[in-house]
Symmetry: C2
Subunit: 469 residues, 2 copies
């Protein structure tokens, strides 16, 4: 579907935004029209670059008046195509990049949509606080996009996804009106929580222009270990013990298979074997505490108990910051390491934590039976039940052939996920990639409710029309 | 507004539910038609008592078909009148009281709507886990009501309100269809998060029939202290230090004024002075940790630093469980202690944490200037910015006179709250009591959006029609 935008709408949008507020320059547009892995590319008649919330409102109001569709875009780091226009007006928030406020007493940071996650981290650190959302693309991903996609990452186990980290929002609704919900409140029971619809709404219910984010104290004590395990079931058991032993101080508990470590060793310069014993599975554990020494003590106690119980085969605790970073690099570089191996079928799934072992076993058997030789790089967040389940072609396989099977493979994997009460998109959202598939797994009752809500707020369906239901 | 329900609807409802599934017996109905403090009473043509989700669905479908209004009711502990019918069908969930599932590996408990909070606590404890939501009425308050009102309580600082504690919901939507959203997932980014609308929806968007709730590890170490402070500003500063010093292990941080302690001493048998020095303000601090000794050490360190900084005037750490309970009783019995003093104007407000001192000063000055001699019992959750701001009549004042001024006083208090960016209902919800007032403080943009959502899901407005916008 490519939409024709009337010329007078284009010229009125230009007039509203003025010089520097829009572009039709192909070079300026190019990086915003291609998804970074090159899986989706698109077109737009006009890139609009509002600098203020009022300008966003003016753009949306004009589009609402003329039933013109809009695709909002943040840092263009999305993995499901939701930010790539196909003839819609492309609304970039890149010029809205002010940190409006940081308050230590309220533990809150108010950032505009175009502020990157890394910049938000810095602004919090400057006042001795921490914004805990953390993910690989944090140098480019922006607050508006992270809110709109309910981003997750590596600290969800302790701090939750974006949904738990937003205290208030400012947004332009599909009718072009500004909703100022930028409260600093920890509690507010005065009707439906409108911000919860915009969080994870993927830009279909409005444009997030600013967010009030929860800050947390810096934690003095931090300890990181790499542990070798016989299998994922032991990871699930060890995590339950870790939560008990540390009283909720586990920040991350990341699963990596032996293949994942091998890929990093092969393709990422500077990578080293984390453990001499080369076990079939690993977990990266990070514990943090405000009590001096507690993180280290808790992690030691956990690993000892794990050895005794036969859950932990081998383990190394990082002795220096550099070693901790090296451990983390093995995990963070999984996507980068895969790139050099050719094509991959990628899945971002969640199942109940207890069902991770069953998922890995069932999906692995189904895929290797149907496509012998495929290599499974499964890694992810045990505590969230969230596995990044990536399937590489057989060694030396033809990338084009592998890519051609992607949808079939996704169907196999997602059917298994659904049978285990899981989700086919744990943290990446649906975008244009998974919308149709997700609709097939949802109940008609839920779909009807979600569609009714959307129609109520955007009766003309101008906001990101190809995304969600 | 009293609604006449046609006789044939009544008889069809009776037929659907069968013997024991409904009542019109005045004695059976009486306790459900009066709010426990006697502030609201109502009427109903029929009490329906479904035992299963399917029966709830049949009731709602019949009501939808005939545009018959319904008021859902949980444990009837609400403080804003939202559970009291005024001619609507009264739908009680009291027979849906099964704990359907408890899973240690998934850290989840699935409870039906009629399960009390105390029963949920017990079911979690039976498997060595904890459900942390905690409030004074937990023996009567039920999961369905707690979800529908987004309940808070004394552990929100660390664990959040109900909104953060629900993994999934099962509900009957206003069209009578069952939505099965009882997932056990920690992450699921596949469209709008429908459960977030039902949480805090006060029964206006459907009837919650069951919830999947997050469990947490039991924490071995727990330490409780009562500290004396010069004023609320010092409480705010001390809390910020407490969060840093304990790395997020503060479970509760409750403010109480001297008047509150005096009321407890006067009216609650067994109460004792917590501190000999009788300071003007107190905080009750509870710290919990999985690391043995860490809670005690963290609390000691905090109090020492607080003394040195001049923030803490005096303090006592509970040496026994009985002493900890005695400290908590002073806080938990505030409402009970007030009862013996006659009428009270009660407010459940929230402001940004940093503005608590300003709120207390401004509101106190405004009220005592206008109504000399009124006594202010302010207590609540510092970390949530949530103050229960209760105003007693002057000593010996006429309760009827004091009650007659309630709305005027609320207006004074709530205007100040609004000017500070606060909420006129932090945790109790709006019910019939505060709906009109809240509408006056909300922006037209937000009200229009909330109303559009409600109309989309309940076009006939049959669900709790007098509550919310």
């Amino acid at each position: 579907m490519t939409l024709a935008v009337p010329a007078d709408v284009i010229s009125r949008l230009k007039a509203v935004l003025g010089e520097g507020g829009w572009s039709q320059d192909p070079d300026r547009l190019a990086p915003k029209l291609v998804e970074w892995r090159d899986r989706w590319s698109g077109t737009t008649p006009l890139l609009v670059l509002p600098r203020t919330t009022e300008e966003v409102a003016a753009v949306v109001a004009l589009c609402a008046e003329s039933a013109t569709a809009i695709t909002p875009q943040g840092g263009n780091t999305g993995l499901v195509g939701g930010q790539i226009p196909d003839g819609e007006i492309l609304l970039s928030l890149e010029r809205m990049r002010r940190v409006r406020e940081v308050s230590v007493e309220d533990d809150v940071l108010v950032a505009e949509a175009g502020v990157t996650l890394a910049e938000a981290h810095e602004a919090a650190a400057a006042v001795g606080r921490r914004f805990p959302l953390s993910l690989a693309s944090e140098g480019s991903a922006t607050i508006g996009g992270l809110v709109s996609t309910n981003a997750g990452g590596v600290a969800v186990l302790r701090y939750g996804t974006m949904r738990q980290l937003v205290l208030g929002l400012e947004a332009v609704l599909p009718n072009g009106e500004i909703w100022n919900g930028l409260k600093h409140l920890r509690k507010d029971n005065t009707g439906y929580d409108l911000k919860q619809l915009l969080i994870g709404g993927e830009g279909t219910l409005g444009v997030v222009t600013a967010a009030a984010l929860k800050l947390f104290p810096m934690l003095a004590g931090r300890a990181v270990a790499f542990a070798g395990l016989a299998g994922p079931a032991d990871a699930v058991t060890l995590l339950a013990r870790a939560k008990e032993a540390t009283g909720g101080s586990v920040e991350s508990f990341e699963l990596i298979g032996r293949l994942g470590v091998e890929l990093a060793l092969r393709h990422i310069p500077g990578s080293r074997e984390p453990l001499e014993s080369r076990p079939p599975w690993y977990v990266l554990i990070e514990v943090a505490s405000g009590e001096p020494g507690a993180a280290e003590a808790g992690l030691e106690r956990l690993l000892e108990a794990g050895f005794e119980a036969g859950l932990v085969l081998d383990a190394a605790v990082a002795q220096t910051e550099a070693q901790a970073k090296a451990f983390w690099a093995l995990r963070e570089n999984q996507s980068a390491a895969q790139k050099s191996e050719g094509a991959a079928w990628k899945h971002d799934i969640a199942v109940p934590v207890s069902r991770i072992p069953q998922f890995l076993e069932t999906a692995g058997a189904a895929l290797t039976a149907r496509w012998p030789g495929v290599r499974i790089d499964a890694f992810g967040h045990v505590g969230d039940g969230n596995i990044h389940y990536d399937i590489l072609s057989p060694p030396g396989g033809d990338p084009a052939v592998h890519n051609g099977l992607r949808d079939q493979a996704a169907h196999v994997v997602h059917d298994i996920v659904a049978s285990l009460g899981g989700s086919i998109s744990a943290e990446h959202g649906l975008g244009t990639m998974k919308t149709a598939e997700a609709a097939a797994y949802k109940s008609p009752v839920e779909l009807a409710a979600l569609r009714a809500i959307r129609s109520a707020l955007d009766p003309q369906r101008i906001m990101n029309p190809r995304v969600l239901f």
